[in-house]
């Protein structure tokens, strides 16, 4: 064992941004031909560490050894030369280029493209055979799915002769099936002797695929263990620093009257694509209806229609009264006035204004509320500040500073600001989209508890999530969406991930029975 040099060895890496120590004296050994997981909450310093390894940041202290050789990595070119390939969370592909052009981009052999493209085409073919990485080299990026785009990123790295592949949160955008495919590919790469570093905050992925796992917390590498010698609860505790409830603790629902009734909802977008196809369902007071489905199957549009900023045909009844779907009163303001609160799927682009302070964000969407006005002309900034402070205290937003811009909070704390704002309106119906996307484990637990508490207070909750675990854990009833349609409804106790997974892939009720 000791005779083989580690593929990567980091010794005493430290990096500070101003007063914040992003990485503190980090040492790690990654053995060749293994899959090494790095897990930690948002802001634990995982991305900083990988950015140092890839030459984006310069470490304040510490050394990097690649296959036993001390290596200095001043920029990404040097990282590539050292055999390191990186697959970013947000792909760096030219949307209107073909797969082949994207692979060659930046690694052309000369001024003329043709020879490079021909060479790349040959090499892609052999890579595809070797690692089961099949992609049509002539497909245009914007026409292929995210899973395929990710393969292109992997191919880019392999084309540049990477022996060490770093993947940053690779499954964030993938369907369960696509994630499985990715893991098969990673397994293949490992068999061929490649070394893989997988950065994630998903415990299950770590358990499924890695050989070794390192846990980071607050800039420090707190422990490195063999995956076979640990379990999810243990890892969660190491990440957060305390015991964490992985299961949502709740009593059985006691559904009452129907609050929301959706009948035959249809959307056709400008391009003539049918986004929602005859969607019908209802949500009762005191229950959580979970909508499962792979991202992009109409869930976002459904939330937008209910939230008042997408037009549709069909019927929506709230407490038995019809809601305007197309007219002048179909906007977010009139929905809020009717008692619909909405935690949107994308907090950075919808739920919050990142440059606004936490206080300003607390009034966002409710800025016409009389309690925020001093008189007819002026807003009462002091009242907004006070309200924000109270909400931040109740929801344990850290740091509890209402004057701080939203962008300066971690993902979990940003989400708490949104959830606090919406839940504290005491709505009849709460729409929740991806409540815990990019949120750390401690905050997930808290947000889930808040949603369940609102249910127990007799409110109707519509939950949309692509995380099947979250749907299974929180919902009292589950509806599955595929291609703009509701494929069927199930009770959590009477179904399992396999059945839901099939429904999410479009297999109809009859076929699964």
């Amino acid at each position: 064992m000791s005779e083989i040099a580690p593929a990567i060895e980091l010794v005493g890496i430290s990096k500070a941004f101003g007063p914040v120590q992003a990485n503190k004296d980090i040492s790690i050994r990654v053995m060749p031909g293994t899959i090494h997981g790095i897990i930690g909450e948002n802001g634990a310093g995982k991305s900083t560490l990988m950015s140092i390894l890839y030459g984006f940041y310069k470490a304040d202290a510490g050394e990097i050894f690649i296959s036993g050789q001390k290596t200095v990595i001043p920029d990404s070119q040097a990282a590539i030369a050292a055999g390191i390939g990186m697959v970013f969370q947000h792909f760096k592909l030219v949307q209107n280029f073909s797969v082949l052009e994207n692979v060659v981009l930046g690694a052309e052999d000369g001024a003329l493209l043709r020879p490079s493209l021909a060479k790349a085409r040959k090499q892609l073919k052999s890579l595809a055979e070797e690692y089961e990485l099949n992609v049509d080299p002539d497909a245009i990026i914007q026409d292929i799915g995210v899973g395929m785009q990710q393969r292109v990123e992997i191919l880019k790295a392999l084309y540049r002769q990477a022996d060490i592949l770093i993947l940053d949160e690779p499954t964030g955008v993938l369907t369960p099936a696509e994630a499985d495919q990715l893991f098969r590919i990673l397994g293949r790469l490992k068999e061929e002797g490649k070394t893989i570093i997988l950065i994630t905050h998903k415990l299950r992925e770590i358990m499924d695929i890695t050989d070794t796992v390192s846990v980071m917390r607050r800039g420090e590498m707190t422990s490195t263990v063999k995956t076979s010698e640990t379990n999810p609860a243990d890892l969660a505790e190491r990440m957060v620093g305390r015991k964490v409830l992985l299961r949502v603790d709740k009593v059985p629902a006691q559904p009452k009257d129907v609050i929301l009734e959706v009948k035959d909802l249809n959307i056709t977008d400008e391009k003539g694509v049918h986004r929602l196809k005859g969607v019908s369902f209802n949500v009762r007071a005191g229950e959580i209806l979970g909508i499962a489905g792979v991202s992009g199957n109409g869930q976002s549009e459904l939330l937008e229609v209910l939230g008042g900023y997408e037009k549709a045909t069909g019927e929506i009844l709230l407490n038995g009264e019809a809601i305007d779907l197309t007219g002048a009163f179909s906007d977010g303001q009139s929905r809020r006035a009717r008692g619909i609160a909405h935690v949107p799927e994308d907090r950075q682009h919808e739920g919050l204004i990142m440059d606004f302070t936490a206080a300003e964000n607390t009034a966002f969407g409710y800025h016409h509320d009389p309690k925020y006005q001093r008189n007819r002309l002026l807003m009462d900034n002091a009242a907004i500040m006070k309200d924000a402070q109270e909400k931040m205290d109740r929801f344990d937003v850290r740091p509890p500073n209402p004057m701080l811009a939203a962008k300066n909070f971690s993902g979990g704390n940003q989400q708490k600001v949104v959830v606090a704002r919406e839940i504290e309106r005491d709505p009849d119906l709460l729409l929740v989209g991806q409540p815990t996307r990019g949120v750390d484990i401690g905050a997930i637990e808290f947000i889930h508890q808040q949603i369940v508490a609102l249910r127990d207070a007799g409110k109707a909750i519509l939950l949309v999530s692509v995380e099947l675990d979250e749907i299974m854990g929180l919902s009292d009833r589950i509806a599955v969406m595929f291609d703009g349609q509701i494929m069927g409804e199930r009770l959590p106790a009477e179904t399992d991930e396999k059945e839901l997974g099939l429904m999410m892939a479009g297999v109809t009720d009859g076929e699964t029975a």
Binding site: F17, M354, M379
Partner: protein, 368 residues
């Protein structure tokens, strides 16, 4: 989140920009065989050396406050109104029509009527670009700049025809009635037996400009409309989620912006010593407003400071051209350099300063 401290952005970046403009200006002076230090002294004297000169500086600054505010208000909604020049001309047209048509018995009434007409005409001139931006997605920069050309054509037509008194040689409106003339600061000083500000045209419009600053400050940071303007400017998708109508807010914001630019007419048309509307009434103030807003960080306080600086530059430059054999074109070059460095090249200065701050670890990083 790493960034440099706010004081560096607000103070250091403009100062470094000004220094760079000064260095290149010095090179220009050396190239034409002038002593840059002497030129600078002459310009400073020309700007604030006598109370007369100071009056001119304040007069120009008043113009720039109005146009700077106009650009800033639109900018808070992420809209780039570069049609200030045209909106100023239309404001002048509105003021001229109202003041020439109605024999106002007192200047206060003329100020209210003329100011309202100026604001209205300025706002009207932005209605079509605003509609095209809000509803049709035609870029406001393109449409407003085209409207500048149309405004200037329209003005020349009006001044060469309908508004020109018979027998007058000059392409201009007739002189406004004496009763409608706004009091100059000198008139006010004379009441106290002083001759402060001499023959300079600085007039009570400067107080209206200050009032406008307060109004804009309150609008942007203390009203629901301002909240919605800023929300839309920061994130259109979030505004949509919150039920803020992008179409309405875009329209309203641009109308306010156009009205502010139009109101400059009370200063440069109704407030001058021989009040009349001339064909180059805007005199580039619409464009200088862009630099003023950028340098003033779209905040009324910053805009006042930047407007004073540009006022001084404008007036000092004119004196320099008058007192020496430096051609007026060279003075325009200097002014252009300052506009370029503080306005267009702002980012060029900011990013190296930001990098320096981050490198030496003095950036304010926020603990999470």
């Amino acid at each position: 989140m790493d960034k440099m401290p706010k004081w560096a952005d607000v103070v250091l970046v403009p100062v470094v920009s000004l220094l760079l403009a000064a260095i290149i200006s010095a090179i220009v002076f050396l190239a034409i065989g002038q002593n840059p230090w002497e030129a600078l002294k002459l310009m400073a004297y020309g700007a604030v050396g006598t109370s007369d000169f100071l009056g001119y500086t304040l007069f120009y600054a008043t113009n720039f406050i109005f146009t700077g505010l106009a650009v800033a208000v639109a900018f808070h909604a992420s809209l780039f109104n570069i049609g200030g020049e045209g909106q100023v001309l239309l404001g002048g047209l509105g003021a001229a029509i109202v003041v020439l048509l109605v024999p106002w018995p007192h200047w206060t009434l003329a100020l209210i009527a003329g100011g309202t007409a100026a604001a209205l005409f300025g706002a009207l001139w932005v209605v079509i670009p605003a509609y095209l931006q809000a509803r049709r997605g035609s870029h406001i920069v393109i449409t407003t700049i085209m409207f500048n050309f149309m405004a200037s054509g329209l003005l020349v037509y009006m001044l060469a025809g309908p508004l020109k008194p018979e027998g007058q040689q000059q392409v201009a409106s007739g002189l406004f009635p004496e009763a409608s003339k706004l009091p100059s600061l000198n008139d006010i000083a004379e009441m106290f037996g002083s001759d402060m500000f001499g023959r300079s045209p600085v007039n009570i419009s400067i107080f209206i400009a200050i009032l406008a600053c307060v109004a804009v400050w309150a609008l942007i940071w203390h009203t629901r409309l301002g909240y919605q303007i800023r929300a839309l400017g920061k994130s259109e998708s979030a505004a949509k989620y919150a039920g803020i109508s992008a179409v309405n807010i875009t329209m309203i914001t641009l109308l306010i912006s156009g009205a502010l630019a139009g109101m400059m007419a009370i200063n440069n048309t109704m407030g001058i010593n021989s009040p009349q509307l001339v064909d180059n009434a805007a005199g580039g103030a619409g464009f200088i407003g862009i630099a003023v807003a950028l340098m003033g960080r779209n905040h009324p306080v910053g805009i006042v400071i930047a407007a004073l600086l540009f006022g001084a530059l404008y007036q000092g430059g004119a004196e320099l051209a008058a007192a020496t054999d430096v051609q007026v074109q060279i003075v325009i070059v200097i002014q252009a350099l300052v506009i370029m460095f503080t306005g267009a090249l702002d980012e060029m200065v900011r990013s190296p300063i930001e990098k320096l701050f981050l490198r030496f670890g003095r950036g304010t990083a926020v603990e999470e």
